[in-house]
């Protein structure tokens, strides 16, 4: 019988390995660039001297494994190198944008999680009623909508027609929290709608799965009130799947943020990533991609560990 700690340690170890492999993949991906990064960036017309100087600057003359470790080492120290496009340190470009992205994702999570879990549970409890069906159709449509469709509909309504919120969400350090929230209202609403649909569907499925277990029938045959059956018998067993659903959707949120940031020209990491891909500013792509990947892996890891901890069978080993 595996104990809790060993499961969690194993999972943590796996997470670290995954991150290492991802970093290698990102690094090798750039190495595998057809031709040479220097030529690719400087173009065909560059003179051999400029190419050579550029190679020196990027340390392209060193063997790959040395460069990998020095790249990873400086990355871990917070030194991401400099941007090819404008020569500025990448850390400066990324820092405030990443916190903007987290701000947007954070507010969205605060709104969507309680709503989604609550509605998901209600839909499961009132299964096959009109309420459940309308929620089911609603969420099905919402997950079918591309994020930008939702975004533009919201802009057309709230920004163009009602002029309640700006269609461009520019935020800066001098703004108060309230101003910031006003600025991100529409991107936040867009993300909320998209994430909630997924979360509600998954919560509903998890609860229904628990409700069909024989121990729920037993609880009802013991003559317990419906309230007690749900709170005392169903809920502790549904907790583990629900936590899983929530954190997985947070991970989804981190990625979904990219498109929404572009729509609302929000100064976040996703916007930077997309711009850099278009400009082929590879060091910036590497750094921001790696940060996204770290966040994603970290959240997935949290989901696994939390759901292990909340599983009654695993919490009380034999």
């Amino acid at each position: 019988m595996k104990t809790n700690t060993s499961i969690i340690l194993r999972r943590l170890g796996l997470g670290v390995v995954t991150l290492l492999v991802i970093s290698i993949l990102i690094f090798v991906g750039v190495e595998a660039l057809p031709g040479d990064l220097a030529e690719a960036v400087l173009g065909q017309s560059a003179t051999p001297e400029t190419v050579e100087a550029f190679r020196k600057e990027l340390k392209l003359d060193l063997p790959p494994h040395v460069r990998y470790f020095s790249w990873l080492g400086s990355f871990l120290r917070g030194d991401f190198g400099t941007s090819l496009a404008n020569g500025r340190p990448i850390a400066d470009l990324i820092g405030w944008r990443f916190s903007n992205t987290l701000f947007l994702a954070g507010i969205t999570a605060l709104i969507s999680i309680p709503f989604a879990v609550g509605l998901g549970i209600l839909a499961a409890l009132y299964r096959n009623t009109l309420f459940d069906r309308s929620i089911s159709i609603g969420t099905l449509s919402a997950i079918s909508f591309p994020e930008f469709f939702v975004a533009y509909i919201l802009i057309a309504i709230f920004s163009v027609q009602l002029t309640m919120f700006p269609s461009m969400s520019n935020i800066g350090p001098q703004m108060t929290l309230l101003q910031k929230i006003h600025a991100v209202a529409l991107p936040c609403l867009t993300l909320t709608l998209v994430v909630m649909a997924h979360m509600m569907r998954m919560t509903r499925a998890a609860i229904i799965n628990v409700l069909t277990s024989p121990f729920i029938e037993m609880a009802r045959l013991k003559g317990l009130s419906w309230r007690r059956v749900i709170l005392h018998h169903a809920f502790p067993n549904a907790l583990s799947p629900i936590i899983n659903v929530v954190v997985l959707n947070l991970a989804y949120l981190v990625v979904g943020v990219v498109v929404v940031e572009v729509v609302f020209v929000y100064p976040g990491l996703g916007q930077l990533l997309v711009d850099s891909v278009a400009k082929r500013d590879i060091p910036v792509v590497q750094a921001s991609g790696l940060i996204f990947a770290f966040t994603y892996v970290f959240l997935n890891l949290t989901a696994d560990i939390l759901s292990t901890l909340s599983n009654p069978r695993l919490r009380n080993p034999k």
Binding site: F215, E217, L221, L224, H233, N237, R313
Partner: protein
């Protein structure tokens, strides 16, 4: 006199697609205070549905269409949800078949026990706790003071089942519904649970409805027995009366004890053994052998039955013989030729001559293939038989397993459990095998159907001279079909020999335990057995 529970002309319907179809077709039932009523029937008889209806409860997709359920002077079907709920657990309690699934994994046993009286407002938590320990003791659970503070998955199956009986008694109910409470248990564990149930309900004078498919089990407990079939009452009577003098054909069939087969000459010489297993040991993980030092010989036209409880390694033995699990020690000799341990290195001829039939015909037949293809494939594969010749041979095989020719173009899902098992047998026969390994082939089937399958296997052996390696946990089956018996316990053979010898005392200690634990129709069997065992421990 007023009955404790009285069900009148009850009709329960189940939804199939758009329509409602009756599954209980107007059954009457009465239960008096302190009486134990046995509900017996095969699968699909509606006995669980009827049992649950006594609590005015129906599963999803079922509804009570008409009839009344009188408890005292109240009709349960007319009560409000709230009033129904107040009766459930407190006045009428339920013991489910699978305790492992029916206990909530998130809470300790004693909390689940105490919840019932505390929520119904008849006891404080402390009182309930004391009562639980008292009941655990009376149900002979080990360490009664502490076992309640464990979680369900930390307790064994037989103990869990007893803990559930205790939970049902928590509110001192008038009636307890037992729904196949021992079916999932090994025979030796079943005895313990049965004895505990009997003792407690007698002491408490609780009325009970005991639902089971096994007449011998119900004979030990019931005062009165109702036989159900397809949602109808077949026969009802006092337990002894009904067992001794059944009025209906169907009941007689259920009761008729399987006839012992006469022993044939088993003094075959070693040389014409069809299969020899010599000193075989095998393990799934290195260092943890599941079977050890197995020696076994099967001669042509004979049936060797390997018997043991779950975990005895009998199914593993079958996997070793077929080559699915190569042994780390020992040899397997088939018709004088030593077999490669691994399936991959065996030639087709060996594979053809050794066929297998499984416990669950549902998963042993590919649901997406028609019978024609299922039986036709081995004909094509081993003999290159196609077209008209194949078709004719398939029909011949269907005839051998006593199935109509029209089944050839059906899918397995259109057949009943027993018919599917016959198809499995036909598929094995298609290869013209010398040895068929039968792994619990009758365990998943209703009693009468199982008997039909055993008869068929016997006839086929007489006609075709095929040998069987018959793996089972059921001693009644062994008695019916075996020439030789091998008793296994924890991966080792504890006793083996000709059937007559094994079934005749003196037995090995474990064989004795196994044999004596098989319930008999005699209503006094359990009492006598417990008395005997008591005495032997005293001496």
């Amino acid at each position: 006199m007023k009955h404790l529970l009285e069900i009148n002309n009850l009709v329960i319907e189940a939804r199939t697609g758009e329509n409602w179809k009756p599954v209980i077709k107007g059954v009457d039932l009465v239960l008096d205070r302190g009486e134990v009523l046995g509900l017996i029937g095969e699968s699909g008889a509606g006995k669980s549905t009827l049992g649950l209806a006594a609590m005015a409860y129906t599963r999803t997709g079922c509804r009570i269409a008409s009839g009344s359920i009188l408890y005292g002077d109240r009709d349960l079907t007319k009560l409000s949800k709230r009033e129904q709920r107040k009766l459930r657990g407190a006045k009428i309690a339920y013991v489910a078949q699978s305790a492992a699934a029916s206990f909530n994994p998130a809470h300790k046993l004693i909390h689940q026990f105490a919840e019932l009286p505390v929520q119904h407002g008849v006891m404080s938590y402390a009182e309930a706790e004391k009562k639980a320990i008292d009941l655990y003791r009376r149900l002979h659970l080990p360490d009664p003071e502490r076992i309640g503070y464990r979680y369900p998955h930390q307790v064994s199956g037989g103990q869990l089942q007893r803990a559930m009986v205790a939970m049902a008694m928590a509110g001192d109910p008038d009636i307890i519904i037992f729904d196949e409470p021992t079916t999932a248990l090994d025979v030796t564990t079943q005895i313990e649970v049965l004895a505990a149930i009997k003792e407690v309900i007698q002491a408490q004078q609780t009325a009970a409805i005991y639902i089971t498919h096994d007449l011998a089990v119900v004979a030990q407990l019931a005062d009165r027995i109702m036989v159900l079939r397809y949602g109808d009452l077949v026969e009802e009577g006092e337990a002894r009366e009904l067992l001794e003098n059944p009025q209906k054909e169907y009941t007689r069939d259920l009761i008729s004890i399987r006839s012992l087969r006469e022993d044939k000459d088993v003094l075959a010489r070693k040389t014409d053994a069809i299969l020899e297993i010599k000193g075989v040991s095998a393990a799934y993980l290195p260092g943890a052998p599941v079977v050890r030092d197995i020696d076994l010989t099967i001669t042509p036209k004979k049936t060797v039955a390997v018997v043991g409880e779950s975990g005895s390694g009998k199914t593993t033995l079958a996997r070793v013989v077929t080559g699915l699990l190569p042994p780390y020690e020992g040899r397997i000799v088939f018709d004088g030729q030593e077999l490669s341990a691994d399936l991959k290195n065996r030639d087709l001829e060996v594979l053809r001559r050794m066929q297998m039939v499984y416990q669950m015909p549902d998963v042993a037949l590919n649901p997406r293939q028609k019978i024609r293809r299922i039986i036709g494939r081995p004909l094509e594969f081993y003999f290159g038989m196609t077209g008209k010749a194949q078709e004719e041979r398939i029909l011949e095989l269907l005839d051998m397993v006593e199935l109509p020719a029209r089944y050839i173009s059906r899918y397995p899902s259109e057949l009943s459990g027993g018919e599917k098992q016959r198809i499995c047998i036909a598929r094995a026969l298609a290869a013209n095998p010398d040895l068929i390994i039968c792994d619990e082939v009758t365990s998943a089937l209703d009693q009468l159907v199982a008997e039909g399958i055993l008869e068929l296997l016997q006839e086929l052996q007489n006609e075709l001279g095929v040998s069987y390696l018959f793996i089972t946990h059921d001693l009644a089956t062994v008695k019916a079909i075996a020439d030789e018996i091998v008793v296994m316990l924890k991966g080792r053979i504890v006793e083996q020999g000709v059937k007559r010898e094994i079934l005749k005392p003196p037995h090995h200690e474990y064989t004795e335990l196994l044999l004596s634990s098989v319930p008999e129709m005699d209503p006094d069997w359990l009492d006598n057995l417990l008395e005997e065992r008591q005495e032997s421990t005293l001496h």
